[in-house]
């Protein structure tokens, strides 16, 4: 007989379940302003402490403190606030439209708006983003027309991807927004390739890659880190840790014993762990990473700590697997409310102005929706002609597809 007791399998359990409040102490927060800002040419191994802490700028009173304060102009911050509000309003209306069966499916980014919007504003418009389905904020911040987004969602005759993809799978090369795939993680390593191409060509554009906490387990996360580190690719590797991947919490993705930012350090990549609900921290950390990439110091991995406030998608019911009021109790709060508080603290904003902005944004989104619905929805059947179904499989349509198109009688 063995001298050892029987082994047993450890299966991580989240710190909260329906009927049992989440203990958020596992997040290990740092106070605002407390984490140092390494020089942009820091060696990857010198960022281990930052990858383990939490970069924050806004304190509880809404003041910007510490070395990461980006010292952004209020006017610039207001651009961010507007983009975040637009994103949130857009989400809310599309969520409702889905329930009205105007679109087949929807995914909102409620509570995570600061991340996509903030990084988009920290980048050059010509930098290429390789987003997931939860970075609609990038498109909105970059001024992609809301109507075009909605036409994609409604799969109507003006859908830029011709009805071929499910809702939320946007693409816009001209807005530096790479075509979204339904397969998790695949775009992460592609972003590294794009950044390598930029370096090969002596360009100055960089790339920004996006992935969720859950999807870091996919092979392409590893591929991306390896290639980015080896070739010092000018890329920002964003990990949006919103604590959940459908029904499984971040511990199932390997978040128990190390932060996701620590993955970067272990692979020889400078890494930061950042409050993703702190718009100023997002600006600052994105700026640091972009500067580093552009000056030839290589990739940065940024773990954004945030919370997926809504359901995973319109097909999901989170009350089945987590406490219903989790978001309200999430210690990093709401990114919109926090930026608003900061602007008010700065004296650059007010509750009234905010209410006016909310109303204005709402009107804009409603007008866009009205226009987009005018072009049809999946429900009304105003979709791209089925004959277009055979286009774009190849650059030139081969004979077998022409034959099939004829057989399809379209």
């Amino acid at each position: 007989m063995s001298q050892y007791p029987p082994l047993s399998l450890h299966v991580p359990e989240p710190p909260g379940r329906p009927g049992r409040d989440t203990d958020f102490s596992y997040l290990r927060l740092s106070p605002a302003g407390a984490v140092r800002r390494p020089p942009v040419d820091a060696r990857p191994s010198e960022t281990g402490d930052v990858a383990d802490a939490l970069v924050r700028v806004l304190d509880d009173a809404g003041r910007a403190v510490g070395p990461w304060d980006p010292h952004a102009e209020p006017r610039f911050l207001l651009t961010g606030l507007r983009a975040m509000l637009t994103t949130r309003t857009f989400d809310a209306r599309m969520q409702t439209a889905q329930r009205q069966k105007k679109l087949s499916f929807y995914m909102q980014c409620l509570g995570e708006e600061a991340i996509g919007v903030g990084e988009a504003l920290a980048l050059e418009p010509t930098d290429m983003c390789f987003p997931t389905y939860r970075q609609q904020g990038i498109l909105i911040a970059r001024g992609y027309p809301l109507v075009d987004m909605m036409c994609q969602l409604f799969s109507n005759e003006r859908d830029p991807v011709r009805g071929r993809q499910m809702p939320v799978m946007y693409t816009s090369r001209s807005h530096g927004f790479f075509s979204i795939s339904g397969n998790l993680g695949t775009q992460y390593v592609q972003a590294v390739g794009y950044a390598m191409a930029s370096a090969i060509k002596g360009d100055t554009r960089i790339a920004s890659a996006w992935i969720g906490d859950g999807s870091t387990a996919e092979a392409d996360f590893h591929n991306a880190l390896t290639f980015a580190a080896v070739y010092r690719a000018p890329v920002i590797l964003n990990v949006v840790n919103n604590q959940w991947a459908i029904s499984s919490f971040q511990g199932i993705a390997g978040g128990e014993a190390a932060t996701f930012a620590a993955r970067g350090v272990g692979n020889g990549i400078a890494s930061l762990r950042v409050d993703g609900n702190d718009f100023l921290a997002v600006l600052a950390a994105s700026g640091w990473a972009a500067e580093r990439a552009r000056r030839g110091f290589g990739p940065t991995l940024v773990e954004w700590v945030t919370y997926r406030a809504g359901a995973h998608s319109t097909s999901d019911d989170p009350s089945k697997y987590r406490p219903a009021d989790d978001w309200k109790r999430f210690p990093l709060g709401d990114p919109v409310a926090r930026l608003k508080q900061h602007l008010i603290a700065l004296g650059a904003w007010s509750d009234d102005a905010h209410a006016r902005l909310v109303a204005e944004v709402e009107a804009t989104v409603i007008a866009a929706q009205k226009e987009a619905e005018g072009y049809g929805t999946l429900a009304t059947g105003h979709v791209h002609d089925t004959s277009t179904m055979f286009d774009d499989v190849y650059k030139e349509m081969p004979p077998h597809l022409k034959r099939q198109r004829a057989q399809a009688g379209t």
Partner: protein, 337 residues
């Protein structure tokens, strides 16, 4: 006897096997606490504990990789791939490892595992929630590929698969999880309730692998189908009045060739129906086999009615789906030739 949906039948098969055999373990993305995005494992973690039924990281390659290691240890893993569209990261482990382990080690090790995956379209899932990748498995020697078309078979085939000593790819046509969908998407949904094939025994039983079922006898043309397409073919036969003999393959590969050959030698005509893209789909193999074995009995070209050679589109889903109109037209062409 209980009436079950296909989801309930699958869950029942897992329940029976978890109870009967301590070595059976069930895992996958969202499979544990939550019970699966299609609810096929609902309640099983509560019943058997998190060491037998558990959530995994989102890494299909890792899921199949650990399953192979567990099988080598002596367990009978039943991993789930959330959608068949997501098996690709696991393809290396499936092809290079699970399928070849027994061969390359001359039987020293083996990988008896059953990989469940929902497949097929018709739910507006677009190109990443609709695929039917069976042909990518049938080309791989050492694998078994199975696809049920009803709750009774689903349970019996799943139990047979878990008990089988070979690696099995168990494809579940998600469009018929809740009812025998015949392709008429414009009509109200028909549930399994009351359907004879939804009468599923509570306990253990097997539907043997490599056994096809003649689900509709006929004499004018043989239809080879599996999964959802069995129901589409039935609708097409009924609507056209063509006296079709419909064979539900159930085991796609290795397959029940004698039943097919016997039927085609009788009817002299053959229509093959599948939802996957046409080129190099499993229909190609079926056509090749039928003409090899029934050449002198064939009175008309074998026809394939399939998904087109495009990704599965979202908005044009029903133009892509090989529905009863297209199948019916093929039946008529076959008998009129």
């Amino acid at each position: 006897m209980a009436t079950m949906t296909m989801i309930q039948a699958i869950r029942s098969a897992l329940d029976v096997m978890l109870r009967r055999d301590d070595n059976v373990v069930v895992f996958g993305e969202d499979v544990g606490y939550f019970g699966g995005v299609f609810r096929c494992t609902d309640g099983l973690q509560a019943k058997y504990g998190a060491a037998r039924v558990f959530d995994t990281p989102i890494a299909e390659g890792g899921i199949v990789g650990i399953a192979i290691g567990m099988a080598a240890y002596g367990l009978r893993p039943v991993p789930e791939i959330q959608f068949a569209d997501y098996f690709y990261p696991a393809y290396d482990q499936i092809v290079s490892e699970a399928a070849r382990l027994r061969y390359r080690s001359a039987g020293d090790f083996a990988a008896p595992l059953t990989i469940r995956m929902p497949c097929g379209g018709g739910i507006y899932g677009g190109q990443t929630h609709s695929q039917s990748p069976e042909a990518l498995f049938t080309h791989v020697c050492g694998l078994r590929t199975v696809m049920p078309s009803n709750p009774y078979d689903a349970k019996g085939l799943l139990i047979a698969s878990i008990e089988c000593d070979d690696p099995v790819i168990f494809l579940e046509p998600k469009r018929i999880y809740n009812g025998p969908f015949d392709g008429h998407h414009e009509r109200p949904v028909v549930p399994w309730t009351g359907h004879p094939l939804a009468e599923v025994p509570e306990g253990h039983y097997r539907v043997p692998l490599e056994s096809a079922a003649v689900v509709r006898p006929g004499s004018a043309v043989t239809v080879l189908a599996y999964g959802t397409m069995v129901w589409v073919a039935e609708a097409a036969a009924q609507e056209t009045g063509v006296d079709a003999e419909i064979i539900d393959l159930r085991s796609i590969w290795p397959l029940d060739l004698p039943v097919i050959v016997e039927s085609v030698q009788k009817t002299g005509r053959c229509v093959i129906v599948h939802e996957a893209t046409r080129t190099s789909g499993f229909g190609a193999e079926l056509a090749a086999l039928v003409q090899e074995h029934c050449f002198y009995h064939l009175e008309a070209p074998i026809e394939r009615v399939t998904g087109w050679d495009t990704p599965y589109p979202h908005a044009q889903e029903w133009a892509y789906f090989p529905g009863p109109a297209r199948v019916g037209a093929a039946l008529q062409r076959a008998v009129e030739t």
